[in-house]
């Protein structure tokens, strides 16, 4: 067995893989948060609950309607996206004139209600979701064993992240979005329906969270509280990255996933807290975050 600094390569690469997978989730979630924050100026505390809803959607589609993983990967984000758009129209849109903190409190309330309702119905125990047959098994790479599903999560998330980046930075629709982020009134004066764009953006952001939830379903247990702990870490990721740039959110997500994985190998006691400690350090050196700009 080959060892590096007293750690077997098997364990090292295993943890790095888990780190990359968590990093994919951080990236997908913080990307959605950054998009929503850019246009709506609110921090979406319901993001974790909507991620959980995505995973539950996949579970229901499988058990109630017999629709498998690949179907769920498309349908769940759509359903949750529609649900999110409805929330934005009915509730969040009333708060744009107020302090941003009210948006945080409102979405936190929504998260509590959604999680509470799921807990009433399904308790706190998790339900398992099978790995799709087409991605079962794994390959031995010589230095480590790579389960195919986990490889797919990393590749799939990366593709969705880069696709979103392309959509926003390189297309006409994205240019409207960036313009509306800079100056919504001016963009409206050009005849573009900004309120609709805001609703669609919120829907898209939470759709990403639901997509992430479906991805996570076969790896973690599907349970009502799966989103609430994760969202706090993602907030720290967002603070570290700064919410200024899309690519920043993606890179920070993957990077911090890897850092967390490495910490698990070399100093497991700090694995839960390393991201928060990094956040404190980044705030002291670069208060605006790694990719952010202080306004």
């Amino acid at each position: 067995m080959i060892t590096i600094l007293g750690v077997s390569t098997q364990a090292l690469f295993g943890q790095l893989l888990i780190g990359l997978i968590n990093g994919s989730f951080y990236a997908l979630l913080s990307l959605g948060l950054a998009l929503i924050f850019g246009l709506l100026n609110i921090i979406n505390f319901a993001h974790g609950a909507l991620y959980m809803m995505g995973a539950f959607c996949a579970y229901f589609l499988l058990t109630k309607a017999g629709i498998g993983y690949w179907g769920a990967l498309v349908i769940a984000p759509l359903l949750v996206g529609i649900f999110g758009s409805a929330i934005e129209r009915l509730m969040i849109s009333r708060l744009y004139q107020l302090d941003h903190i009210y948006g945080l409190l409102l979405t936190f309330g929504i998260a509590l209600v959604v999680e509470g309702l799921f807990r009433i119905e399904y308790g706190s125990t998790g339900m398992s979701y099978p790995v799709p047959a087409s991605l079962a098994g794994g390959d031995n790479l010589g230095f480590m064993f790579l389960p195919r599903y986990r490889a797919w999560v990393i590749v799939g998330s990366l593709a969705v992240c880069l696709g979103t980046w392309f959509l926003i930075e390189k297309t006409r629709l994205g240019s409207y979005l960036r313009a509306a982020t800079e100056n919504p009134d001016l963009v409206r004066a050009f005849g573009i329906n900004v309120p609709l764009m805001i609703t669609m953006t919120y829907g898209f952001g939470v759709g990403l969270a639901a997509f992430c939830g479906v991805m996570a379903a076969p790896i973690y247990q599907v349970s009502p509280q799966m989103g609430s702990e994760l969202i706090i870490v993602v907030f720290a990721v967002v603070v570290i990255g700064g919410m200024g740039s899309i690519m920043g959110a993606i890179l920070t997500g993957f990077l911090l996933g890897l850092v967390e994985g490495l910490t698990k190998v070399f100093y497991p006691e700090a694995a839960n807290t390393v991201i928060f400690i990094l956040m404190a350090i980044v705030l002291m050196i670069r208060p605006a975050g790694l990719f952010g700009t202080q306004k």
């Binding site: 945080l104 936190f108 209600v113 509470g116 309702l117 009433i120 603070v239 928060f276």
Partner: protein
């Protein structure tokens, strides 16, 4: 930055305001003094602990405009510190309270110094992240006994004289601590320092241009709020003889926000009323389990969308008073 829905400036308090607030204060003290003879004393004691906690939080948010989403870390840190001191080191209760409060103040100094580097929504996220870090710390460190918490902490004799195992003795000690904390906060709000704090809330840039070092004011407000939250936590530990992970959890941080919001942000008596309602709800509806969470979430949504003044804020608005 955080607007009290009606911009009411409290100070310098006019004689009419002082009279209104004086009457309300005497009414509040009377209610808490009579309460143990009417209901089971543990309930009003719990309300007072949370009321002090919420008042401390309100000092920061309602007057300083700083939204902390991690205030449970101060409540819990003081709880664990005082519990450890009282049980393991065997110090008398007044020393345990002092140690707990100091630990919270120290933590407030460290977290505050980092968190005030960002404003608004970031400030909320940073305090939240620090609170989560403290939660993991208390979960892993051995002296807190993990999921069990530090249990059966002896109440001891206050100043070697008052036997706190006598229910009425501990009740009136808690009442005194609560009133003391409440009056400190009242005094701070109406002091020149409080005025500057409100200026920063309304317009930080202008405060800077007037020559105020706003970061120092914000940090002091944060440390004050953390210390008083710590005092609440240590007192709560004294009452229940218990310090557990519940007190450092995110749910606790959210609860204090809810109490303040429901009672009335930036009002003097609002947090007390909010604490009373929320603690009552939890006490009497505890058997409904997750429904309490749903109810709390619904109150959050309702308050933000339709009831931003809160109970006391609404009453004060109707009566055209400041309470």
């Amino acid at each position: 930055m955080i607007p009290a829905p009606d911009r009411i400036f409290y100070a310098p308090a006019s004689s009419v305001e002082i009279r209104h607030q004086g009457v309300a204060f005497i009414f509040m003290v009377a209610v808490f003094a009579i309460a143990p003879f009417v209901v089971y004393p543990l309930f009003p004691m719990k309300v007072m602990c949370f009321a002090l906690f919420a008042c401390a939080f309100n000092l920061l948010l309602g007057y300083g405009g700083l939204m902390s989403f991690g205030h449970a870390m101060f409540l819990g840190t003081a709880g664990y510190t005082s519990a450890h001191a009282a049980k393991v080191w065997g110090v008398p209760p007044e020393v345990a309270l002092l140690l707990g409060t100091s630990a919270a103040a120290l933590l407030g100094l460290v977290v505050g110094a980092i968190a005030i580097r960002r404003q608004g929504i970031y400030f909320a996220m940073i305090t939240l992240a620090f609170a989560q870090m403290m939660y993991f710390f208390y979960l892993q460190t051995p002296f807190t006994y993990g999921e069990d918490g530090i249990q059966t902490v002896p109440r001891g004799h206050l100043f070697g004289l008052v036997d706190l195992s006598v229910p009425m003795a501990v009740y009136f000690v808690v009442l005194l601590i609560f009133i003391g904390g409440f009056l400190i906060i009242y005094r701070v709000i109406h002091s020149p320092f409080g005025q500057v704090l409100k200026t920063i809330r309304e317009n930080e840039v202008r405060a800077i241009s007037l020559g105020y070092d706003t970061n120092r004011y914000k940090l002091l407000a944060f440390v004050l709020s953390a210390s008083l939250a710590g005092l609440a936590g240590a007192t709560k530990m004294l009452v229940f003889g218990l310090a557990s992970l519940t007190d450092v959890h995110l749910a606790m941080s959210a609860e204090v926000v809810l109490m303040t919001l429901l009672g009335g942000l930036g009002t003097i008596f609002g947090p007390v009323v909010g604490a009373l309602i929320i603690v009552a709800m939890e006490n009497y509806f505890a058997q409904f389990g997750p429904w309490v969470t749903v109810a709390q979430g619904s109150i959050f949504i309702g308050c933000v969308l339709a009831f931003r003044r809160g109970v006391v804020g609404e009453i004060a608005h109707r009566l055209k008073m400041s309470l």
